[in-house]
């Protein structure tokens, strides 16, 4: 089922990318990034079945980094909301050229 897993993973990753590009709510953009990480995890697990269990260990590290990223990212979003009273990315344009 390697080919099918890679197909599902590619579709999920693309949905995540399209979500990041089309949504303006910072939290939903952030969740789209999580969806992309999940798609990559599916690829790791599918290859781990063929090439040995090291891929599953990498999924572990990806999950740990995702947890750390969620904690810090959501703290940043809360700080941003406190500062600007919005999480709409089109209103957060201080660095826009």
């Amino acid at each position: 089922m390697l080919a099918e897993s890679l197909f599902f993973s590619a579709v999920l990753f693309t949905i995540g990318v399209v979500g990041v590009l089309t949504r303006r709510n910072a939290i939903i953009v952030f969740m789209c990034v999580e969806l992309m990480l999940n798609a990559v995890n599916l690829t790791f697990v599918a290859f781990a079945r063929v090439y040995g269990v090291a891929g599953q260990v990498f999924v572990f590290f990806v999950m740990t980094v995702a947890a750390a990223e969620a904690a810090v990212g959501l703290a940043i979003i809360i700080a941003l909301f406190r500062h600007r009273q919005t999480v709409n990315l089109s209103n957060i344009n201080l660095l826009k050229g």
Binding site: M1, A3, E4, S5, F7, F8, A10, V11, L12, F13, T14, I15, G16, V17, V18, L21, T22, R23, R24, N25, I27, I28, M31, C32, E34, L35, N38, N41, L42, V45, A48, R49, V50, Y51, G52, V53, Q56, V57, V59, F60, F61, M63, T64, V65, A66, A67, A68, E69, A70, A71, V72, L74, A75, I77, I78, A79, F81, R82, V87, N88
Partner: protein, 185 residues
């Protein structure tokens, strides 16, 4: 593993959960309300856990439910409700039609690229014999085949991960601290 030896039960559920995952992901990016989007993402993660179990990664499937669907998404929902963003009507969220077209084109290009990558020839010599991982799980349980390499070959990465988590905890506390309150500095 070749297709011929897989039972129909297995193949049916593999496709079922894969299609549920993709449909939930589509629902997730199209929902206006952040709470509904988060719940659809939880559904995607549950389906992925089922796929992991079907791919002989039982422990990863359990961790997916506990850590992703359980912990990370609860934090997301907590923040959505803390910021009181639940009302779909007053947030014009999706970008304009030009952005959507551009995003669709980028998505199609990316999909084509990833497909080309998945069609790439992977070295046959590195592949283990069919069912090796399943045999390891049957012989040593679901956790031992992962725990072995995690605490031997990847021990340094494991320790570095703990430092990363500590840094993330400290960073989240510092960022979440109210500036200017009496006990802040």
């Amino acid at each position: 593993m070749s297709h011929g030896e897989l039972p129909l039960f297995y193949v049916f559920h593999f496709y079922l959960f894969g299609i549920i995952a993709i449909a939930s992901a589509v629902a997730f990016v199209t929902r206006k309300s952040p709470v509904a989007a988060a719940l659809w993402l939880v559904n995607t993660m549950f389906s992925l856990a089922a796929l992991y179990v079907l791919l002989d990664a039982h422990f990863i499937g359990v961790i997916q439910v506990l850590v992703y669907a359980g912990a990370i998404m609860v934090v997301f929902l907590f923040v959505i409700m803390l910021l009181n963003l639940g009302h779909a009507s007053d947030i014009a969220d999706a970008r304009g039609i030009g952005w959507k077209l551009a995003a669709g084109l980028v998505g199609l290009a990316l999909l084509a690229q990833v497909f080309a990558l998945t069609r790439a020839r992977v070295p046959e010599a590195l592949a283990l014999p069919d069912g090796t991982v399943a045999e390891q799980v049957a012989a040593r349980g679901a956790i031992a085949p992962i725990a072995g390499p995690l605490f031997n070959e990847y021990l340094l990465a494991f320790e570095v991960t703990s430092v990363l988590l500590l840094a993330a905890v400290v960073g989240a506390v510092v960022l979440g601290k109210r500036r200017g309150s009496a006990d802040a500095r």
